[in-house]
């Protein structure tokens, strides 16, 4: 979108001599988006080129790949054909070609919910009450049947590691409205079940300037270390002013000017974060009824409730993009139900159901839901056939999965796309991950074809070189 960003900034730096962006920032109205951008802060809010429907994103990443046919993609035919062989099923669909069994019906109870009559399984009793807020995309598909490539695909638009992830692109495109908090925050499983495969590469900035990288909150102990200032505030401010002046000497002549600028900015952000972050993390200050609604302090979902509530507090404070991983690394540590589908999905649904439902309700009652896009998606779906085991599971399936969005300018209670009659492959209105990304960007007012960054001689984009489609049918 803005390949000239840094050169314009360089011009300004030269013109302005020693006048740093901070000095400018102090003079400017906080709402002066583009004026701020011109001041040289790579995180200054930027006005998006399209009409934005949402300002921030909370992405619940159902890590490991939840089963579409057991969550939101009801398949009566699958229920009927339980135990039959699926003609045309490619045993190489999943990870374990030797273990593919017959069609397996969803072991969960299904019912219709809301005014929209949306079918939902009994995995999500709380979320089922909010289906009229959600726009379901049943025809998602992706490019890999393996976790880390699929995670990279979902997060960065490409199966290889090392490209910028969605949160980084969004922050690059829109800047941050949180002057004093990280613009892009990631929370991982706090129950020691590991990080998503590929670890920090799932929230890396890739070839984008590293200020756009996600900040990972430590799941235990202080979320951010060294946050407490050891020096009196005005002395530290004086230190940073001096540091900034010294660091900007000769900056324009450096061959790595943008990297060094990012480092200058990271000190300023760190300084502001010292007071802003503890305040944002202070979920204990929430009133009791809110805490109860999320499930704070409960055995079954207290940990996830805290993350959801923290996400709301951060978005409230201008954080642009929050990603929360539901589940740890793989297999039974996450939604990756290779065996014991029932135990696995019941467990992870129980952790997420109440907190996410409370998040939707809370955002709505605060009037924040209209500006906040809540996304629920994993990296792929599961096979409608069983993965054979004493307690059967389902294997990876890149051909179909269901994602939903809520708030942030999407229609509620709508369904887009369809899978075949047993939920094996997306067949109607197929939505590739890049279409999903394009749609997400569009909701934020960004044009996936124009949001680009020059790297290795190419204008790189989140959605890559192939064409991507914005699913406007979802827009309210």
């Amino acid at each position: 979108m803005n390949p000239t960003f840094f050169s314009r900034r360089e011009a300004l730096m030269r013109a302005g001599g020693g006048l740093g962006w901070l000095a400018c920032a102090a003079l400017l109205d906080k709402t002066g988006w583009n004026a701020m951008a011109a001041s040289g802060n790579p995180l200054a809010p930027k006005r998006p080129p399209l009409q934005p429907r949402a300002k921030s994103v909370i992405w619940i990443f159902a890590n490991g790949g939840p089963s579409q046919v057991d969550t939101w993609d009801y398949k009566p035919e699958l229920q009927k054909r339980d135990g039959q062989t699926l003609e045309g099923f490619d045993p190489k669909t999943g990870f374990f070609p030797g273990s593919a069994g017959a069609l397996m019906k969803s072991p969960f109870e299904w019912a219709q919910h809301g005014a929209s009559g949306t079918w939902g399984s009994d995995l999500f009793p709380h979320l089922n009450r909010h289906v009229d807020k959600m726009a379901f995309v049943h025809s998602c598909w992706t490019g890999s049947n393996n976790h880390s490539p699929a995670l990279f695909m979902m997060n960065t638009g490409i199966t290889r590691m090392g490209s910028p992830c969605v949160g980084s692109w969004v922050t690059y495109g829109l800047g941050s409205e949180a002057e004093s908090l990280p613009s892009f925050v990631v929370m991982s499983d706090p129950l020691n079940r590991g990080l998503p495969k590929g670890n920090a590469l799932n929230w890396g900035a890739g070839f984008l300037p590293s200020v756009y990288q996600g900040t990972w909150l430590k799941p235990s102990g202080e979320p951010i270390e060294n946050l407490k200032p050891e020096i009196a505030g005005n002395t530290q401010r004086a230190q940073l002013d001096l540091l900034g002046r010294l660091n900007r000497r000769g900056l324009a002549e450096s061959p790595i000017e943008s990297e060094l600028s990012a480092r200058i900015e990271s000190f300023e952000l760190a300084y502001r974060m010292q007071t802003a972050a503890p305040e944002a993390f202070a979920i204990h200050e929430e009133p009791e009824h809110i805490k109860t609604a999320y499930g704070i302090g409960t055995q079954h979902c207290g940990h996830f409730a805290a993350q959801c509530l923290m996400a709301r507090r951060m978005v409230e404070r201008g954080v642009r993009f929050v990603q929360i991983y539901s589940g740890g690394m793989e297999n039974q540590q996450s939604w990756d139900c290779h065996s014991d589908l029932v135990g696995n999905h019941r467990g992870f649904a129980l952790e997420a159901d109440q907190p996410v439902a409370a998040l939707l309700a809370d955002l709505e009652q605060r009037g924040m839901l209209k500006d906040t896009l809540v996304v629920w998606a994993g990296e792929f779906g599961r096979t409608p056939v069983a993965q054979k085991a004493a307690k059967p599971g389902r294997d990876h399936n890149p051909h179909a999965f269901t994602a939903w969005m809520a708030g942030g300018g999407v229609k509620g209670g709508v369904h887009y796309g369809e899978t075949d009659e047993v939920g094996y492959k997306a067949v109607r209105d197929k939505v590739h991950v890049r279409d999903f990304h394009a749609t997400l960007l569009a909701l934020l007012g960004l044009d996936h074809e124009k949001l680009s960054f020059r790297f290795q001689g190419l204008d790189q984009r989140l959605t890559g070189v192939e064409s991507a489609r914005v699913i406007t049918d979802l827009f309210a």
Binding site: G143, P149, I224, E225, L243, N247, P255, Y271, Q274, G457
Partner: protein, 1006 residues
């Protein structure tokens, strides 16, 4: 097209090889005509011009299109060559052997095309010619069908991959540059030369940070600046290579590759206390310039090359540093064992071969010619190799010296005690003669000599009794006369003992004990027994606790003491009985016990003690008669009363317990020591005598025994070439040594590749990016070399010097390319945005360790101690290479500055700029303390009352190796005056120093 395939195609591959990637494996080299490349090219032309249409129109419908009759699918070339149910009908380059032509000519049934007229002769002959040209396809006949090949076979084409080629003798290209490296670079860049040389201050900073990970001291800067004679640069490099700090820095680079960690990972993440010897091996290896072949040999098989050389054994931890689950069930054992071997093989493959060998575990490698069978044959190298932590003496000479020194000290202490005893014996005689009659009423603890039942009890010097067996009855009972009289209470001590479990005090787990109840009885004149009521229970401080009702107590392995006063003083002499009920049905019995009765009314737990007979003697105020055989008990009591004796004896005892053992746990990978055991249910062994081929990596699908072997694609001689049999009686298997020799064999094995891979790593660290920018992947999914000829030349130079690593540093660093200034040249950037030509120098952020070490070094706090056990606290002033690497608790500073997770071999670190780095520099204890120390150092150097300008100059020299510019000095002065005014007298020097440590210039390698 799938993403992975797309990305593969987008990557540079050797173009001329691309179109016959799918050459049949069935074809042996002998069947392959010499001009096959040219013929394939011609065949490809024919395919596109005519053959494709013929196949489409006449064959495809039944064979790979709508149907696949006779299992013959010619939609892809692989299918054509594989043939149908009756086997292959096309032999590329050999139309005469191709049955398909006979069917087409209606010479053999089934006639083809079936139930259709015979094709015109001209068409059949064109097909024959096409087969004669190798029957190449430019694309599958059916859109979307992938060209698949049988990857279980390794072909000559596979062997022609650039990285698998012998090195040959690459010639340095002609050119004007003096240095061969610069000639190669210029040749690639159409003669373009490097950027101008950096100034000498930058050069000394660059070289020092690069080789030692520490900034140069002002003295080192001056020394280099003042050395105006030719060869100053070379001399600087030599000085730096000679510093121990060099090994500390470059060992750390290799530790990423070796996935170095000091704990097991997984569930419990137990510490592996013996890991650090591997790190110390690396530091030492780099510092003494261990040649590369030895570097490889020792890490894979030190025990097989140097049996008996305990010190080298630590190098084999390379094999066993990986993570390992610590809680596994019996039916997981075998799988876990295969995973462990996989970790050894995958790490070996990535580290030395730059190949993702591990990918061939479940299937033939998708991109590189590594059939799954090669994987399992190579895996069999490690069939018996296990992770062990034997206690070894890594330095026997040093241990002997320390022991001799200790013995001398102990002898002196003993002599000193004996001398005091001699003096005290004289005073004892005097006491007995003169003072005993008037000795006041004795107080303290009289130790009872009675032995408990059941059990065999051994008496110790201090009157305690020790038993190796716990009483099966759950009860202990003492009974007997007490020599002294008039007692007021009762005390039980449980003491730790070398004969008890874990050297503890009791027989229970971990050496703990528990006494449920204590019952004390006294015999009546009529022979009956009366219980003595106990009151006022007290327990000792060393971890002992009274049980709730005060009738018993329990304690830790250190032992403990409990005492009770009698409700009524027990006057006169008598027979006593003591009964104890111990916990866990006897299993928690204390194993070493001392019972004592209280003399006098004051029941201090630690009051003076004496043998009961000494107590009796003092009570009776009589000299001991000859019947009192134990004069020593009296002497013991007398000696203990003397403070000087107590002091000397305590010194002797503490020395006696401190015999230097010289033994230390060492992490090893070999067949010679028992494997480290974890919580394995059932106690089954974890190694197996044989390694099997596994289908899909599944231990349930065994497919025959795999004999050790190597990658076919890299072997140019029969495998017997690397045979080596260990001597008779050896505990090792000799297979790892064979692997090492194959890895190093530049003629017929993987030696050319391993040299390329290692040299590329050295280049990468000096130049910021490897010639192959995927240093752990030289295969087809890696990135092609930007300068293949240069890489080959460097590798052959490396081998010529016998793998001298320091020589390679000198070679690379003396190039003009290394010495370029960092200049922002928009034209150069536009022409080569990624610096593919290495004709620009780009500053890069120092690694986590170098940032932290630089902070410590500049502040003067850096502790230069080499080697030793890891240090847990980030605040330690030791170098970062010594920080503990506990996998579940990776250190914040290291992680936030991009030290990789030690799970698999890592060849590259990303460089991120994130807020946690800034927070660390703003607020961490380490940086704050260092800033304060830095300020004191400046004051010390310049004098307390030195002008601010002098202090500022000193700060710049120390931190940045240069003088401050006038504006910098001005800013410093302003800052310091403002701080001084603000804080009312404090100088703010430390706060200013901290700013220097936060500067971009400080954190970047120029």
């Amino acid at each position: 097209m799938s993403e992975s395939r797309l990305s593969r195609l987008l990557r540079p591959v050797v173009p001329s090889l691309f179109w016959f990637i799918s050459l049949p494996g069935a074809l042996s080299a002998a069947d392959l005509p010499d001009d096959h490349a040219a013929r394939m090219k011609a065949g490809l032309g024919a395919f596109d011009a005519e053959i494709r249409a013929v196949l489409n129109d006449h064959c495809l419908k039944c064979h790979g299109g709508a149907k696949t009759k006779g299992e013959f699918d010619l939609a892809v070339r692989e299918g054509l060559l594989k043939g149908g149910a009756d086997g292959p009908s096309v032999v590329p380059f050999h139309p005469e052997k191709s049955r398909l032509l006979k069917m087409l000519r209606h010479e053999e049934e089934p006639y083809m095309p079936e139930n259709k007229p015979r094709l015109p002769d001209s068409v059949i002959e064109k097909i024959a010619a096409w087969i004669g040209n190798g029957a190449p396809y430019s694309a599958p006949l059916v859109a979307g069908r992938k060209e698949e090949r049988d990857r279980s076979k390794v072909t000559d084409e596979d062997r022609s991959w650039w990285a698998f080629q012998p090195l040959g003798a690459p010639a340095v290209p002609p050119g004007t540059a003096a240095h061969p490296v610069d000639r190669f670079l210029a040749a690639k860049a159409a003669g373009k030369g490097p950027a101008p040389e950096a100034d000498r201050r930058t050069l000394v900073r660059r070289a020092t940070l690069d080789l030692t990970g520490l900034p140069p001291t002002p003295e080192e800067v001056t020394e280099f600046l003042e050395d105006q004679k030719p060869g100053a640069w070379e001399r600087l490099i030599d000085r730096l290579l000679a510093r121990p700090a060099y090994g500390e820095r470059w060992a750390r680079h290799w530790m990423d590759v070796a996935r170095y960690g000091e704990s097991s990972g997984f569930e419990q993440d137990y510490d592996r206390t013996g890991s650090y010897h591997y790190r110390d091996f690396l530091i030492d290896a780099f510092n003494r310039d261990l040649p590369f072949p030895e570097f490889v040999r020792l890490q894979l098989a030190a025990d097989e090359y140097r049996p008996g050389d305990v010190r080298s054994l630590a190098a084999t931890a390379f094999l066993t540093l990986g993570v390992f689950p610590t809680q596994i069930t019996v039916n997981e054992l075998e799988r876990v064992r295969y995973e462990d071997m996989d970790d050894m093989l995958s790490t070996t493959g990535s580290a030395f071969l730059g190949l993702t060998v591990g990918c061939a575990r479940c299937h033939d490698h998708k991109f590189d010619p590594i059939p799954s069978r090669d994987y399992y044959r190579m895996l069999a190298t490690f069939t018996g190799t296990v992770r062990s932590e034997p206690e070894l003496d890594l330095n026997p000479e040093e241990t002997a010296r320390k022991k001799a020194e200790w013995r001398g000290k102990l002898d002196a202490a003993t002599t000193s005690v004996r001398q005091r005893e001699a003096e005290l014996r004289r005073t004892l005689e005097q006491f007995l003669e003169r003072d005993l009659p008037s000795f006041p009423a004795v107080e303290g603890w009289a130790v009872w000599g009675a032995a408990p039942q059941p059990g065999t009890w051994e008496r110790r010097e201090d009157g305690s009794l020790s038993s190796k067996a716990a009483p099966a009855s759950g009860k202990l009972q003492w009974e007997g006369a007490l020599a002294c009289e008039n007692v007021h209470g009762f005390r039980v001590e449980a003491m730790s003992d070398r004969d008890l479990p874990g050297g503890g005090a009791g027989h229970a787990k971990n050496g703990t004990f528990e006494v449920r109840t204590v019952r004390v009885e006294r015999e009546n004149p009529d022979g009956s027994w009366t219980a003595v009521n106990l009151a006022n229970a007290i327990a000792g401080s060393s971890g002992a606790d009274l049980l709730p009702e005060g009738k018993g107590w329990k304690g830790t392995a250190k032992g403990g003491v409990a005492a009770w006063k009698f409700e009524q003083a027990q006057l006169g002499s008598g027979h006593w009985r003591v009964q104890m009920e111990v916990g866990q049905g006897g299993k928690a019995a204390p194993g070493r016990i001392r019972l004592a009765f209280l003399l006098g009314a004051d029941s201090k737990l630690d009051a003076e003690w004496m043998d009961e007979r000494v107590a009796a003697l003092l009570q009776q105020k009589q000299r001991p008669g000859t019947a009192f055989e134990a004069q020593q008990h009296l002497e013991g009591w007398w000696f203990r009363r003397d403070p000087e004796y107590r002091k000397r004896d305590a010194a002797r005892v503490s020395l006696a317990g401190a015999e230097p053992k010289g033994l230390t746990k060492v992490l090893v990978g070999s067949e010679s020591f028992p494997a480290v055991r974890y919580h394995t249910a059932g106690g089954a062994v974890e190694t197996y005598k044989e390694t099997f081929f596994l289908k899909r990596g599944n231990v349930g699908l065994k497919d025959g025994v795999a004999t050790p072997g190597f990658l076919q694609a890299l072997s140019r001689a029969p495998e017997t070439r690397w045979n080596w049999n260990p001597p008779a009686g050896a505990t090792y298997a000799g297979k790892r040594r064979q692997l090492a020799e194959w890895i190093l064999d530049a003629e017929s094995g993987a030696g050319a590749l391993s040299a390329r891979v290692f040299v590329n790593r050295l280049w990468q660290h000096h130049f910021g990016r490897g010639i192959v920018s995927s240093p752990n992947d030289f295969g087809k999914s890696g990135v092609a070399p930007t300068h293949p000829e240069l890489l080959d030349w460097l590798a052959s130079e490396f081998l010529k010097t016998g793998g001298g690593i320091k020589a390679m540093h000198r070679l690379l660093m003396t190039s003009a390319a290394y010495r370029q200034a960092c200049i922002k040249d928009p034209e150069a950037i536009a022409a080569d945005p990624d610096n593919q030509y290495f004709l620009r120098r780009v500053p890069r952020r120092l690694e986590a360790e170098a940032v932290r070490d630089s902070v410590l070094a500049v502040s003067g706090r850096l502790d230069p101690t080499l080697y030793g056990p890891p240090v847990s606290a980030e605040e330690t002033p030791r170098r970062s290479v010594y920080l503990r690497v506990k996998r579940s608790k990776l250190l914040n500073t290291m992680v936030s500055f991009d030290q990789p997770e030690p799970l698999v071999s890592q060849g590259i670190r990303p460089t991120t700029t994130v807020t946690p780095q800034a927070l660390m520099l703003l607020n961490s204890r380490l940086v704050r303390d260092s800033a304060t120390a830095f300020a004191s150092r400046i004051r010390k150097l310049t004098g307390d009352n030195a002008p601010i300008a002098a202090q500022v100059a000193a700060g710049y020299r120390l931190a940045l190796g240069r003088e401050p510019e006038p504006d910098e000095r001005q800013m410093a002065v302003e800052f310091l005056s403002a701080e001084s005014a603000r804080s009312g007298g404090k100088t703010g020097l430390a706060e200013w120093c901290q700013v220097l440590l936060e500067l971009n210039e400080f954190a970047y390698l120029p």
